[in-house]
């Protein structure tokens, strides 16, 4: 499979990365090189093979559903580009 320029734009938008027009063609070539490389996986017979879902055979641990951490909002917002009263500020999303 290979991608066309419209698909490159669509993926970029899905990934929330803006791309300039002059970046599309090189990106398309690079993505197609990678897709051509992974194409060989189609040679492998994967019928009746379970996909790996856990690297080490283990049950994910569960813990009691209770608050174990918190109460330091200053630290949480400490690295944010824009905050007010310990809230993250974002551009308006609802009209």
């Amino acid at each position: 499979m290979s991608v066309d320029s419209a698909t490159v734009r669509r993926i970029a938008h899905l990934a929330r990365i803006s791309v300039n027009d002059d970046e599309i063609a090189p990106l398309q070539n690079e993505l197609n090189a990678i897709l051509a490389f992974v194409e060989q996986l189609n040679e492998v017979d994967v019928a009746n093979v379970e996909p790996m879902t856990s690297v080490t055979p283990m049950q994910l641990r569960q813990r009691e559903d209770k608050v174990t951490d918190g109460h330091y909002p200053n630290k949480i917002v400490g690295n944010a580009p824009l905050t007010e009263d310990n809230y993250f500020l974002v551009p308006k999303v609802v009209e």
Binding site: I11, H13, A15, E30, V38, V44, V46, V49, E50, P81
Partner: protein, 493 residues
């Protein structure tokens, strides 16, 4: 006085414990060496005041008889590890000013055991690269040069700052991380030793995530013994990492020097790839001879799905990365680039903040996870991952204790030499190491000799799950037989 920076971690530990030298003395020697080595660009942040304060506290603990196993020993920390109050960037512009309010579990265990932090080490941006050239701080220059040439070489990647710093004697040892080979390939390129432990052995908590089902922390250091010492402090159960494994941490150092007599070592025929250089082939043979001479039995084994590991990795790793890196959106941390609405703010922020390789991998990951392609790419790759793991399980079920392979397909290459037009050219560096991450196994890279151009070449040993001890025993045999590789000359100072 002898140059304290030349000591191995074990030698320094013994000297500090015997009070022949103080932590302050050795830390000062390293602080000075770090400053002189700036042309290597191995450190992205030097923390000399912190180092000297930690050394002073160590000396006080030693005086009170409260020394820990790493007391007073200066280390470098890969900039992927969150360090409380000390800038942590993953070598990306998008979190270029991030100062964590927390400490990663692995580094907190190093400080618990008395280690001293010299600073933060360069790496490929978000650990995505095999040459340290994708770092927002620029490439690391290897302390190694080809015989008769001063061309600048890469130290490998993504832990290129770690490998270069250890090889250049500007830390006693370093933390690193390995997602597809990022500990073992840079160790091989710089004549140092690095181990990627079994998945789940070290906590991932507080380490900037790349591909969570593949990422593991581990050390790079001068010797096998130094690796064993560091891993004992780094490893261990952590309730904060859901994939951390709850089992005791052995005293790995006891395995160093243990007999390997009667061990069965597999040589996988599928690693004899097309176009393998005669030099690498000879190194591999030499490694097998060393182990045989120590009493191990060498057997040929088959890992039939080896060639599919790298392409499957380039689906799984970008898929996980695209998900992990979704958090960098200009809201909670890092840079923000404004836009006409919130979506364009996200898009502008991520276009500006991420480097080229990271953008490319996020896009590949987004594509293989997108509607209509998920089964064809991602699910198929995870099925192939099962087959890769089963290959190893079958070999180990035959009584094989460990597997010997070359660590890399070549010696270090020049800065700017690879991957310019075709990203896959760079990816091929990890062809021998990536299988180990796909199967979650431990792997160690140990220097095996020098290339005809005078550069280090590494051998890799792959172990059974949670059998790092066997790797330390076998690695020590190779290190003793091959002889420790010394750096030719300190051209940068």
């Amino acid at each position: 006085m002898t140059d304290l920076t030349q000591l191995t971690l074990a030698e320094a530990r013994d000297a500090v414990a015997a009070k022949t030298i103080s932590s302050t003395e050795i830390t000062k020697a390293f602080v000075d060496a770090v400053e002189k080595a700036r042309p290597l660009n191995a450190y992205v942040l030097e923390t000399p005041e912190k180092a000297l304060a930690m050394a002073k506290a160590s000396d006080e603990r030693i005086a009170k008889g409260q020394a820990g196993p790493l007391e007073g020993l200066p280390l470098g920390i890969k900039d992927l590890y969150a360090t409380e109050g000390t800038r942590t960037t993953a070598c990306s512009k998008i979190i270029g000013n991030f100062v964590p309010a927390y400490e990663s579990t692995v580094t907190s265990q190093l400080w618990r055991d008395g280690a001293v932090m010299l600073g933060k080490l360069n790496n490929d941006e978000f650990a995505m690269g095999s040459s340290n050239e994708t770092s927002a701080f620029g490439p690391v220059v290897s302390p190694w040069q080809r015989t008769g040439s001063n061309a600048k070489l890469v130290p490998g990647g993504s832990s290129g700052g770690s490998s270069a710093a250890v090889a250049a004697n500007i830390c006693l040892g370093a933390t690193a991380t390995d997602t597809g080979g990022s500990i073992r390939q840079p160790a091989a390129f710089t004549g140092t030793v690095g181990i990627k432990p079994t998945y789940g052995r070290c906590s991932r908590w507080g380490i900037v995530a790349f591909a969570s089902s593949l990422d593991q922390a581990g050390p790079i250091a001068k010797t096998v013994r130094d690796n064993a010492i560091l891993l004992r402090s780094m490893a261990g159960f952590d309730p904060k990492d859901s994939t951390s494994v709850d089992r005791p941490v052995p005293d790995y150092e006891k395995a160093v020097g243990a007999s390997v007599k009667g061990m069965k070592i597999g040589i996988p025929k599928e690693y004899r790839v097309d176009g393998m250089s005669a030099e690498i082939e000879a190194l591999w043979q030499k490694g097998a001879d060393m182990l045989r001479a120590a009493g191990a039995e060498i057997v040929e084994v088959s890992l039939p799905h080896t060639k599919y590991a790298l392409p499957a990795y380039y689906i799984v790793a970008p898929a996980e990365a695209s998900s992990n890196l979704a958090r960098y959106d200009g809201v909670r941390y890092g840079v923000r680039v404004p836009g006409k609405d919130i979506v364009s703010m996200y898009e502008n922020t991520r276009a500006e903040g991420f480097g080229k390789e990271v953008r490319r991998r996020i896009m590949i990951g987004t594509y293989v996870l997108s509607a209509g392609y998920y089964d064809a790419y991602y699910v198929r790759a995870q099925k192939i991952r099962t087959l890769i793991r089963q290959d190893f399980e079958k070999v180990y079920a035959q009584g094989v204790n460990a597997i010997l392979t070359p660590a890399t397909p070549s010696a270090a290459f020049g800065i700017g030499e690879k991957g310019g037009a075709d990203p896959v050219e760079m990816y091929l560096n990890d062809v021998f190491t990536v299988t180990v991450n796909m199967a979650g196994l431990p792997g160690i890279a140990v220097p095996g000799g020098l290339s005809t151009e005078g550069l280090p070449l590494g051998l890799q040993l792959i172990g059974r799950p949670f059998d790092e001890e066997t790797l330390f025993s076998l690695g020590e045999v190779i290190e003793q037989a091959a002889g420790r590789i010394a750096l030719p000359q300190r051209w940068w100072a």
